[in-house]
């Protein structure tokens, strides 16, 4: 018998199987999962409905009509759904439990990247509800705002979805990395995941300069969602945040993701260096 475990090959397919195993393992209660998925979607719809109602009452929000605002809400909600689908279990409460029980050590002795393993095996299927509801709302809002679905516009919408999801996932990863150092302190990331997405649901010009700077250039949610929405709606955008910045969106997202990856590596090294 030579080496039974080969050193290379396979790559991504393994993670696909891990996702499948993780989801299958938890679907032995399919009814329950369906309920939570629907519930997850209904929350988004309720939010969208409420926003549409209130903006309609007032006629306009900083020059944006109700359907246009709902487009923002929908894009950010869908992105959040996709991001949390992958990253929800990295949240401090769950992740700290994983570390405390020693389960994380078990992950470390696997021949895979620990982060990829954690994400792949802990997909939270119920967030599909949020994603689908968000996409549905995007369709509704786009229709009401007169968005033309050209090939380019479809790509832009997809870009917004993917960038927002990537940002949410990156924040989750940062949260997990922080959990290595301090458990309760890392709860702070939830503010960005939930607060950040809520904030992005409204046109960015309503906020003060500090918030605007924070969410355009530091945690670039506005670049991920607001700017693509500008492009879809054919708006030029406020000074300082024109639609032309669409080219910056993926770059900024990638930059933030890189930071998150660095943070994770640092946290992991710290953990392996000092133990639990």
């Amino acid at each position: 018998m030579a080496e039974l475990a080969r050193p290379t090959g396979g790559g991504l397919a393994v993670y696909g199987r891990l996702v499948s195993a993780g989801v299958r393992g938890r679907v032995y209660r399919p009814g329950w999962l369906l309920v939570r998925t629907i519930g997850s979607g209904l929350i988004i719809l309720a939010d969208g409905f409420a926003v549409a109602l209130v903006v309609d009452r007032f006629g306009t929000l900083a020059g944006w009509s109700a359907p246009e605002v709902v487009l923002l809400v929908a894009l950010s909600a869908a992105g959040q759904g996709l991001g949390l689908l992958l990253g929800d279990r990295l949240e401090p409460t769950y992740f700290s439990e994983l570390v405390r029980r020693g389960t994380f050590d078990q992950v470390l002795v696997r021949p895979t990247s620990p982060l990829a393993w954690l994400i792949a095996t802990q997909v939270e299927a119920r967030y599909v509800g949020r994603l689908l509801a968000g996409v549905g709302m995007v369709a509704w809002a786009a229709d009401r705002s007169g968005v033309v679905w050209s090939g380019g516009h479809l790509l832009v919408a997809l870009l917004a979805l993917v960038c927002c999801a990537t940002l949410v996932l990156s924040i989750c990863v940062l949260g997990a990395a922080l959990t290595f150092a301090t458990v309760e302190g890392s709860e702070v990331v939830n503010i960005f995941i939930y607060g950040g997405v809520t904030l992005t649901g409204y046109p960015v010009q309503i906020y003060g300069s500090v918030l605007r700077f924070l969410f355009v250039w530091v945690v670039p949610f506005a670049l991920a969602v607001y700017v693509p929405a500008l492009v879809l709606l054919g708006r030029t955008g406020p000074p300082g945040l024109p639609a032309a910045l669409i080219w910056v969106s993926p770059v900024a997202t990638a930059g933030f993701t890189g930071l998150a990856a660095l943070g994770w590596r640092h946290g992991l090294r710290h953990y392996v260096g000092t133990g639990s």
């Binding site: 009814g31 309720a46 409420a50 926003v51 109602l53 409204y202 918030l211």
Partner: protein, 261 residues
């Protein structure tokens, strides 16, 4: 009686132990408060000086900060503790102790939410009051009425959560009914936008439900609605839901004894 007071104090001290959670809770309150303040300020700019559905912009801002104050005490983070203890069987010991388990839980809960109210809720609210033109009561009776209304809201929310928790006696999927109901409670309760903005019939339905006793009531009292009718309505719900939840517990216990939970 002393036992119940001791529970209140125990609950208070238990919540006080989570220092960092308090800080992150305060920051969360602050963040959402600022975001939604910006929203309403921008909305009212389109209709300067006007009142929409009876709310002018000071009322709306007061709504924002009071919702932040109420959120953590209405939908508490420990919402699943009770049904989990039922599922795991720990709750049985509660039933073997002398006294009233429902009252005991209420007492403990009041202690915990009391701590949150004092430290996590009022600080951002008062801070916002210094910076923004909120429509908070300026008289002592007004302030007292608001506090009373908040306390009544907490009790109503306890009872509502208790009802959902009772599901644990019947099914292991006790989160399911809540999961489906929550979006409705969220919307109709007024957590995203004030119920006042809803179209006529929906608004009437919302205000007739216990949700308004839980959420909008203290806000209405704060912005200056006549306090007594609101407080009376809340008290009525406290009684009704109290009877229903206690009845539910009795039913559940009988079932448990018969079936051997």
């Amino acid at each position: 009686m002393r036992a119940y007071l001791a529970l209140v104090s125990a609950g208070f001290r238990r919540q006080a132990a989570y220092r960092l959670a308090l800080v992150s809770g305060l920051l969360t309150n602050l963040f959402f408060g600022v975001v939604r303040t910006s929203l309403f300020l921008a909305l009212y700019q389109a209709r300067p000086g006007a009142a929409v559905n009876g709310l002018d912009y000071q009322d709306a801002l007061t709504y924002v900060w009071m919702i932040q104050a109420l959120f953590g005490v209405i939908w508490v983070s420990w919402i699943w503790e009770f049904p989990e203890s039922v599922r795991s069987g720990d709750f049985v010991t509660e039933l073997t102790r002398p006294g009233d388990p429902w009252l005991r839980q209420l007492a403990y809960e009041l202690g915990r939410t009391g701590q949150l109210l004092v430290f996590r809720s009022t600080l951002p609210l008062l801070g916002a009051a210094l910076v923004l033109p909120l429509a908070l009561p300026t008289t002592v009776p007004g302030a007292l009425a608001t506090v009373a209304s908040m306390l009544l809201a907490v009790v109503v929310s306890f009872e509502v959560r208790y009802l959902f928790g009772l599901a644990a006696f019947w099914t292991a999927d006790f989160r399911a009914p809540f999961s489906i109901a929550f979006p409705l409670l969220w919307l109709v309760g007024g957590f995203t936008i004030p119920v006042d903005y809803f179209p006529g019939p929906v608004r009437a339905a919302a205000e007739a439900s216990p949700l308004s006793a839980m959420v909008m009531a203290p806000i209405h009292v704060a912005i200056g609605w006549p306090a007594w009718p609101v407080l009376a309505g809340q008290a009525a719900w406290v009684v009704v839901l109290g009877l229903v939840s206690r009845g539910g517990l009795a039913l559940a216990c009988r079932r448990m004894v018969v079936h051997g939970g």
